[in-house]
């Protein structure tokens, strides 16, 4: 398979500077895929986001179905892919459609308070989405920048 998934992240801010600069270079990605159905047909937004990266790196905005189709097709060219989902709902839809990954990264909450319950930070709908994703054997962890440790613990807490 010539597509290697280097990072899967949920970030509502999509391709902002932290991701483009820190993660993209750190994980050695040369293709950024943003999964956000609301911008799928907006080529202008895609072009503007592409401007934040050099021409040697490609960027696409996909729907969930387009993501699955892209991953299943083999272009023959080695592509190191970083996938940014707009929200947990998009990850859940992708997993339901057959998307396979080992783990999903979520940036720390801004305050980095100690999370005792997932519901302190996530809505009940998001908690359900997290549990669904976990039920498919996919791990979730908090990590904002490359030098941060991966924190899986908060996602292993059982809701009270």
């Amino acid at each position: 398979m010539s597509i290697a998934i280097k990072l899967v992240r949920v970030d509502k801010r999509l391709l902002h500077a932290t991701i483009a600069l820190n993660w993209n270079q750190f994980v050695n990605a040369n293709y950024v895929i943003i999964v956000d159905p609301s911008y799928v047909d907006d080529s202008f937004i895609e072009q503007v986001l592409q401007l934040s990266l050099p021409k040697s790196m490609k960027l696409s905005i996909f729907s969930v179905d387009q993501l699955i189709a892209f991953l299943q097709a083999d272009s023959g060219v080695r592509q190191n892919v970083m996938i940014i989902f707009k929200d947990l709902g998009a990850v859940k839809s992708a997993v339901e459609a057959g998307f396979v990954t080992k783990e999903v990264q979520i940036p720390y909450p801004a305050s980095r308070f100690v999370i005792k319950n997932l519901s302190d930070f996530f809505s009940s709908e998001e908690v359900e989405q997290i549990r669904f994703i976990q039920s498919k054997g996919i791990k979730l962890f908090f990590q904002t920048a490359p030098l941060d440790n991966k924190d899986y613990s908060a996602f292993n807490i059982k809701e009270k």
Binding site: Q25, F26, N28, Q47, V48, L51, S52, L53, R78, P146
Partner: protein, 360 residues
């Protein structure tokens, strides 16, 4: 200047879209670059009162690069102008980082060349670069020669510097198909753990993107002057050891072969030539093969016999013959075992020299 080149790409996208006008303003509000060329030179107020205009300061790490002006007549103007600003600053930061990274890699290149210069070790120059790169000269490091038959992606190699475990790494492309690294070994890694530490590190490199490569690992060195030895270990592996493709080969696993290769084999061959010629019963090629199997099986006769598809007694018979011919005690003494290994290696080298037509 890099900002203007990047901004030209933004202008191209805006001109294709035709919904907005974008411009770069200097500190006085004068338009110095614009998607509408006719507006260049015009002056704008930096505090815009027009609802169709947005003006943002372009600032990166406390350095100002002027202002971004976006003009448009739709509801998305605020969102689009923020997106333009973010994309522009992100791209600028990216290019600034890449430039600084390339400067660092250039210093690494110089340092690696000084470290492997076999004519003269220029200590002052090496230390100067070490200090400029802000790395610890006292950490032990080990050479890893990475080979890829089709060559490496230059940008990818530069990005190696961004890995969190690269802060003490020294590396350079030796040529299109080879990268030489001097990888630091953390102080808490014991000598017997070095191999597993590096195996994990190399596995991480493969996952990161260095796929389809051969990895040759030298010996750990804690003096800058001896880094060259570690590199030469890798070169010796490259030239002399048959290795599985796309795998890791450690010099430490080839100490015996290496030191055998450093002995003056001509002298050994001459010493034993007469013994060998006086007895026509010794098949030299077979003896070389038997000695090789004995070495690999730690002189375990049963194991070596299995490897050679011989009955154990047949192998013992042949060893007795070598003992008689060379007047050495192979089975009973450690020295005899070493001597058989040396004799076999000396004759092997002789055969190889004859094969390539060398004068011997």
């Amino acid at each position: 200047m890099i900002l203007y080149d990047i901004f030209e790409e933004f202008i191209y996208v805006v001109q294709e879209n035709d919904r907005y006008t974008i411009g770069l303003l200097d500190d006085d509000g004068q338009i110095i670059s614009c998607s509408n060329k006719k507006l260049i030179g015009k002056k704008l107020s930096l505090v815009s009162e027009n609802k169709n205009d947005t003006i943002h300061r372009i600032s990166i790490r406390n350095v100002d690069y002027g202002y971004l002006w976006v003009n448009g007549n739709d509801d998305d103007l605020k969102m689009i102008s923020s997106l333009f600003l973010e994309s522009l600053t992100t791209r600028l930061m990216y290019e600034i980082n890449t430039t600084s990274l390339k400067q660092k890699v250039t210093k690494d290149d110089k340092l690696v060349r000084l470290l492997i210069d076999d004519h003269e070790f220029d200590k002052n120059q090496v230390l100067k670069l070490i200090h400029e790169l802000n790395i610890d000269e006292n950490l032990p490091r080990i050479a890893i020669l990475i080979l890829h038959p089709e060559g490496f992606d230059v940008d990818e190699i530069v990005r190696l510097k961004l890995r969190t475990d690269s802060s003490e790494l020294i590396y350079s492309s030796i040529d299109k198909q080879s990268i030489l690294m001097f990888k630091d070994i953390p102080v808490n890694v014991e000598n017997h753990e070095i191999k597993s530490y590096l195996t994990k590190y190399i596995d991480d490199l493969k996952l990161w993107g260095l796929v389809d490569c051969d990895f040759l690992v030298g010996t750990p060195q804690n003096r800058l002057r001896y880094y060259e030895t570690s590199y030469k270990n890798c070169l010796w592996l490259k030239r002399n050891v048959a290795r599985p493709k796309q795998d890791v080969t450690f010099f430490v696993e080839n100490f015996f072969g290496y030191f055998l290769s450093q002995i003056d084999m001509k002298e050994i061959r001459r010493t034993f030539k007469c013994y060998q010629e006086r007895s026509k019963e010794v098949d030299v090629s077979e003896m070389i093969h038997i000695a090789d199997c004995l070495i690999k099986s730690n002189f375990n006769i049963s194991q070596a016999a299995d490897e050679l598809f011989l009955h154990k007694n047949t192998l013992i018979y042949k060893l007795k013959k070598y003992e008689e011919v060379f007047d050495i005690d192979i089975r009973g003494s450690f020295q005899g075992k070493v001597l058989l290994s040396l004799i076999a290696y000396a004759f092997l080298e002789y055969q190889q020299q004859l094969q390539v037509g060398e004068k011997v």
